[in-house]
Subunit: 347 residues, 3 copies
Amino acid sequence: MSIAVGELAVRFGCELVGDPDRRVQRVATLAAADPDSLAFLANPQYRRQLATTRAGVVVLDAASASQCPSAALISANPYATYARIAALLHPEPPARPGVHPGACVDERASIDASASVGAQAVIGAHCRIGERVQIGAGCVLGEGVEIGADCLVHPRVTIERGVRLGARVRVQSGAVIGSDGFGFARDAGGWVVVPQLGAVRIGDDVEIGANTTIDRGAIEDTVIGAGVKLDNHIQIAHNVQIGEHTVMAACSGISGSTRIGARCMIAGMVGIVGHLDICDDVIITGMSMVAHSIKTPGVYSGGIPAAPAALWRRLAARFRRSEALAQRVMRLERAAGMESKEDRSHD
Amino acid sequence: MSIAVGELAVRFGCELVGDPDRRVQRVATLAAADPDSLAFLANPQYRRQLATTRAGVVVLDAASASQCPSAALISANPYATYARIAALLHPEPPARPGVHPGACVDERASIDASASVGAQAVIGAHCRIGERVQIGAGCVLGEGVEIGADCLVHPRVTIERGVRLGARVRVQSGAVIGSDGFGFARDAGGWVVVPQLGAVRIGDDVEIGANTTIDRGAIEDTVIGAGVKLDNHIQIAHNVQIGEHTVMAACSGISGSTRIGARCMIAGMVGIVGHLDICDDVIITGMSMVAHSIKTPGVYSGGIPAAPAALWRRLAARFRRSEALAQRVMRLERAAGMESKEDRSHD
Amino acid sequence: MSIAVGELAVRFGCELVGDPDRRVQRVATLAAADPDSLAFLANPQYRRQLATTRAGVVVLDAASASQCPSAALISANPYATYARIAALLHPEPPARPGVHPGACVDERASIDASASVGAQAVIGAHCRIGERVQIGAGCVLGEGVEIGADCLVHPRVTIERGVRLGARVRVQSGAVIGSDGFGFARDAGGWVVVPQLGAVRIGDDVEIGANTTIDRGAIEDTVIGAGVKLDNHIQIAHNVQIGEHTVMAACSGISGSTRIGARCMIAGMVGIVGHLDICDDVIITGMSMVAHSIKTPGVYSGGIPAAPAALWRRLAARFRRSEALAQRVMRLERAAGMESKEDRSHD
């Protein structure tokens, strides 16, 4: 497939600088592009690659256009425009509708004729699979699972009993949706299992990463809002609620019953403790521990960047001796006849 | 199903305040309960919901009973009592005994007639599956795996060769038990694989969370004691031993050959380095790095809660300059003719 | 199987102290060994077990040989020598060549006659499976996957479309190779999916741990160099490149487009942010956050070990008040007529 850059400009509302009849066949990075490729510049870290790119056309913003050695498609949001062009140039291979003969579908399940179910997949009783849904090989859907139209479920995903997905949800391989929440009541001599009776509800246009887990609610449902994007290895505990269009990067975890607002951005390896409220429009940077509710939109941090080990060892030792240092300062203040500013509480 | 609260009081040893003939059909949260529902109050964070609950009956402790607007079931341990009542009101759907025709069972495996094996499951040679065990769809059991009575293995679990589970173990989807430990010996030009020859032994009443991994021992077995509860995304490396009734929250990891005592409580995203001994009754709070053995029961911490990013940046900068600050204090001490309290060692 | 220690000495180039005709049948730990067992001493933490071992022979270094109560095989690298002997004494059970009748193989796939494919595995069109490869039960390989000779893929692994593995790669259960990278472009009202068009290339002799995920590249491939060893629960984001023989311990994550050099050693729960360059021969200790590129080989750290909670609370409070302390020191300096050493910037 190839397409004229003039047509791209029209379709995606870009200003074109260059020959509208030039055609591109594929996307490429600035560094690797050839004249048949379209590249893009969105992250300023890669600006130095612009001068030498051999791309046929580059999607970029107005400020960068003058430095572009090739044709330019000028967009206020080059990355989003690139994403749409890439989807046009590289369409996903269509799945053949129908149930693979090696799948195992309960006769009480309802599967739309336009949907596809892969080999070795298992579909439980009373499941409802919508139009054009793709269920990958080796997936297991428990009883009464509902999958909205145009969902794409990669191979080897588990969706346990009663879980409901909206439309256009994409689930990567290895994800588990609807595992039992971690609920145990302490009792003499051990722990009593607390039945996990809720399910999981996933809104439209949600992405669920590879090997990510979302536990079913203890009583009510765990709820993932429309447009939420979850990366790989994320843990969502029971009763969590995530607001619309929030994104979470890999390896982060949200403990039970915490509510996350809309349009939040949570970086990688962030841990959020249970029973908190995080308001809308909160950004949390990588490896932060969120131990208190957040009531004000803004950016929050909790990680300290690594340093050479010898230096870090000294800093960690200073940290461990920080009480002693404060007491030395107080002694100096007393000796100087100064009122000590030492505050009393520890929090 | 419905049950009289009077009968609940008798069965579970609660004092009842209210009409013993009132019947409840289900459990619910305090906020969402209707008069046919039973709710509970265990976490004081939810106490404010008690006054307005419409629940038919609430399980709570004696101190809260006077504020209960409905019938009250008074228990010294409301959460455990709630758990038992919930299990009574909402029994798990029974599995139909037998091997699904879509499963693949080696003829040398022994499966109790009361057990069930789901579609597409694979059971290796010489496996022994006990009474009333449920093996979910898509599970793979290697050669010689032993599963004790009443275990519940959710779909898509891997249990590798020679692993043994006690009775009543529950394994959530995506878990891997008996993967090879991470053992490599450095050698000229790279790494030599160290054969992982042990297996994994899991005690009775253990819970293993979704996508949790437990590596087989290098020479002897990795051992998980009875009553241990492991949440999702946990990593247990080779040769680890965990004592009875210890619980671990999600995303924590224990490195190789470390021994954890009994009745420990390990919060989420905790990392424990290898070859350590953690004694019984240790509590470790979230996101701690445990780098040394612990010989005294108690609570240990290692995480610093996140703060607004602008503040955190200043604090992190102070941390990086903490050596300079200590030297400034020492200079002041010298100027004041004070003996410097500066200690010499860095640890 | 049993073998004479004299033969082991010859085969593995060790000096033997003791009777060359003594035979051993298996490996064991120093503590559990009996006279038919071979043990080893590599980690000095276990030296105290040497004096009382009942092992028939111990592999150790020259410095420890004089304290060995049994026959000794002296090696400059006892752990690597042990690994090779263990592989000899405990060979992996050979897989029976051929495709299990319960597997589902696309007719356009090419599978070497010496390879084995387990029950319920799914092999997509145009896959190429090399000599002596073992594909475990329940694995799913997408279209056009290539697997080099002698690879061992444990059960329930997903290898998505177009991924290529070199020779002798071992993949543990639950791993996902080639999941879509986490690419979304912000746009009015939500996020646009950025097509993930690259694949994953894995070099020879790579190890991929249980439930580890490796995302396909956004445009070009994600690349894992020869000899790399990845433990369980690792996240490798799109476009990452890892140099040869680098090892990563469990639960670590590398964000998108970061390049890691050769022979690096990355401990557990390390997080590395995106678009960085980490040079060759870098060691990063556990739970570090790597937020900047590293240009100099060496050891880097970022974690502070846990402490008793009461102490830790005070230290965390000091950390939060560290700005105030610095200002008190500045006030003292001014009062003493000293030039303040306070620097101005925050980084």
